[in-house]
C-alpha cells in the first residue's frame, strides 16, 4: 500500500524518478508537469479527449490525464523526449517542421508520440488508417492537412510505402 505523503517511483524516458509530495489522486499528467517538470506533456482537456498529454505507457499510446500517477509505478512511461534522437521519431519531428504541421505547437508533442507509435506498428498506414489512429489527438490550428502531409512525407522518406501506392508528392492540405 502507498499512503498519502509517501514517495514512489516512476520510470520516465528510461530514468527512474522519485515522486515526492504528490497527491495519490493526481494523474500522471499532473505529476509529470507539476512534480517532475516534464512540460512537453501538455495539459488541455484533462478528460482524455484531446491527446495533448499523450505518452506511451508500457509501449501503448495513452492519455496521461486518464492514468493515476501512483498506479504507473513499475510501468515504463515514454514522452516525446524519450522517443529517441535518431530514427523514426527524429524523422517525424523534422517533417512536422518541414511540412508546416506545427503552428502554435501545443498539440505537437502529443501528435509526435501518437504518429511515432502508429508508424512503428503500421509503417504503410493509408490516409483512412492515419486519420482514424489520430482521432484522439486534436489540433485547433492546422486543420490536419499539413499533419497528414508530414506523415506521408515520413513514409516516403523512409521507404515505408510499397512503390505502387506512393501518394502524390504534394497532397492537398489545409
Amino acid at each position: 500500500m502507498t499512503a498519502a505523503g509517501e514517495s514512489y517511483q516512476l520510470n520516465i524516458d528510461g530514468f527512474t524518478r522519485a515522486v515526492v509530495g504528490a497527491g495519490l489522486g493526481d494523474s500522471l499528467l499532473t505529476v509529470l508537469r507539476d512534480t517532475l517538470g516534464v512540460t512537453s506533456v501538455k495539459d488541455a482537456c484533462e478528460q482524455g479527449r484531446c491527446g495533448a498529454c499523450s505518452v506511451l505507457l508500457d509501449g501503448r499510446l495513452a492519455a496521461s490525464c486518464t492514468v493515476l500517477a501512483a498506479d504507473a509505478d513499475g510501468a515504463r512511461v515514454v514522452t516525446v523526449a524519450g522517443l529517441g534522437a535518431v530514427g523514426l521519431a527524429r524523422a517525424v519531428r523534422a517533417m512536422f517542421l518541414a511540412e508546416g504541421a506545427v503552428q502554435c505547437g501545443f498539440c505537437t508533442p502529443g501528435f509526435v508520440v501518437a504518429v511515432t507509435d502508429l508508424l512503428t506498428r503500421r509503417p504503410d498506414a493509408d490516409d483512412e488508417e492515419i486519420r482514424e489512429a489520430l482521432a484522439g489527438n486534436i489540433c485547433r490550428c492546422t486543420g490536419y492537412g499539413r499533419i497528414l502531409a508530414a506523415i506521408r512525407a515520413v513514409q516516403r522518406e523512409r521507404g515505408m510505402l510499397p512503390a505502387r501506392r506512393e501518394p502524390p508528392t504534394h497532397p492537398v492540405g489545409g
Partner: protein
C-alpha cells in the same frame, strides 16, 4: 497548472483477485470511500473534476489474471482487465471485436477495460450494448466467494461495495453479428445511439439491443420475435419489407422507454428514436440478406 486530483490518501495495488478482495475489505474497514481503478479513463477524470471522491483506491492494473481472455467449447470468457485494443482483432468474437473497434480513440481503446465499462454502465456504452444483445453473464468476486449472474440482473442491483467484477462470459457466436453506432464526432466521443444485432443460426434466434435511448441499453423483445418468424433459416435471408417493419417496431419500442435521457443539441428524443430504427434496420440487413419477391421466387 493542472488541477490536482481527489484527495485519495491510500493506494492499494494487489497482484491477484484474492488479494484484491482482501485489500478492498481492509480499505473499507475504516469507513473510507473506496474506488476500484482499472484503466482509469472514466475514474481519473471524474476524481479530478470532483464528480467522484475517494479516500482510497484499489488499483487492478497489476492483477494479471484479470487480463486474460479465453475460449471454451461453448463460451468465451473475457477478464475484467482486458482492454478494447486486446479485443479488436479477436476472430472468435467478431461482434465484440467490432464494438471494441469503434470505442473512443486509440488512447482510450488502449487503456479502457471491460471491467470499467461494466462499472461505469453508460447508457450508450458500446461494450455494454453489445453484451446486452449477447446475453452475457457477469462474474464477480467478494469475501463470500465467486458469483455469476446474467448481465441484466447485474445491472439491476448495484455491485456490493466489497465485490469486484472479474470477467464476463458469453456464448460463442452462432451466426452473423453486427455493431453500429452514431456519435457526435467520428471518434473520441461516446455514441449517441447504438445497435448491436446478434443472430444465432443454430438456435434460430435474433437478439437486438439499442443503446442511448434509456439509462441502460435495452433489448427489443417484440422486434426480435417478429424477425425470428420472418427469417428463412435455411438460407439466412429475410424479406426486404420485414427489415423495414423491424426498424418500425424498434422505433415503437424505444419511444416507450422511460425516463427519457437529457436532451442535448442535436440529440432530441425524436432524433434518437428515428436513429435507433435506422440503425436496427441496417444491422438486420447486414446480418440477414434482404430478399425481394423476385429473389424469393427464383
Amino acid at each position: 497548472m493542472t488541477v490536482a486530483g481527489g484527495a485519495a490518501s491510500r493506494m492499494f495495488r494487489p497482484r491477484g483477485v484474492g488479494e484484491a478482495v482482501e485489500m478492498l475489505a481492509v480499505a473499507r474497514e475504516s469507513g473510507d470511500v473506496v474506488a476500484l481503478l482499472s484503466g482509469g479513463t472514466d475514474l481519473v477524470p471524474a476524481l479530478r473534476s470532483g464528480e467522484r471522491v475517494a479516500d482510497a483506491v484499489v488499483a487492478l492494473r497489476r492483477v494479471l489474471e484479470l487480463r486474460v481472455r479465453g475460449a471454451g467449447a461453448d463460451s468465451l470468457t473475457i477478464g475484467a482487465g482486458v482492454t478494447y485494443t486486446d479485443l479488436v482483432g479477436w476472430s472468435l468474437a467478431p461482434g465484440l471485436a467490432r464494438a471494441a473497434r469503434v470505442v473512443g480513440s486509440a488512447q482510450i481503446r488502449n487503456t479502457g477495460t471491460v471491467g470499467g465499462a461494466l462499472g461505469s454502465a453508460r447508457p450508450a456504452g458500446d461494450l455494454l450494448t453489445y453484451l446486452t444483445a449477447a446475453d452475457a453473464e457477469v462474474l464477480t468476486a467478494s469475501p463470500r466467494g465467486l458469483r455469476r449472474r446474467p448481465l441484466e440482473r447485474f445491472l439491476a442491483d448495484p455491485l456490493a461495495a466489497d465485490s469486484l467484477i472479474t470477467a464476463v462470459r458469453l456464448a460463442r457466436p452462432g451466426g452473423p453479428q453486427v455493431y453500429v453506432k452514431i456519435g457526435g464526432r467520428q471518434a473520441a466521443y461516446p455514441a449517441i445511439v447504438s445497435c448491436a444485432l446478434v443472430v444465432d443460426r443454430v438456435r434460430h434466434r435474433v437478439a437486438c439491443a439499442i443503446g442511448g435511448v434509456g439509462h441502460l441499453p435495452a433489448r427489443m423483445g417484440g422486434a426480435e420475435s417478429y424477425a425470428v418468424g420472418e427469417v428463412d433459416w435455411t438460407t439466412g435471408t429475410i424479406p426486404a419489407p420485414a427489415v423495414r417493419r423491424f426498424g418500425d417496431l424498434v422505433v415503437e419500442a424505444v419511444a416507450g422507454i422511460g425516463p427519457a435521457l437529457p436532451v442535448r443539441p442535436g440529440e432530441s428524443a425524436d432524433y434518437r428514436w428515428h436513429a435507433a430504427g435506422v440503425l436496427a434496420g441496417r444491422a438486420l440487413a447486414r446480418c440477414l440478406h434482404p430478399r425481394t419477391d423476385r429473389d424469393g421466387a427464383s
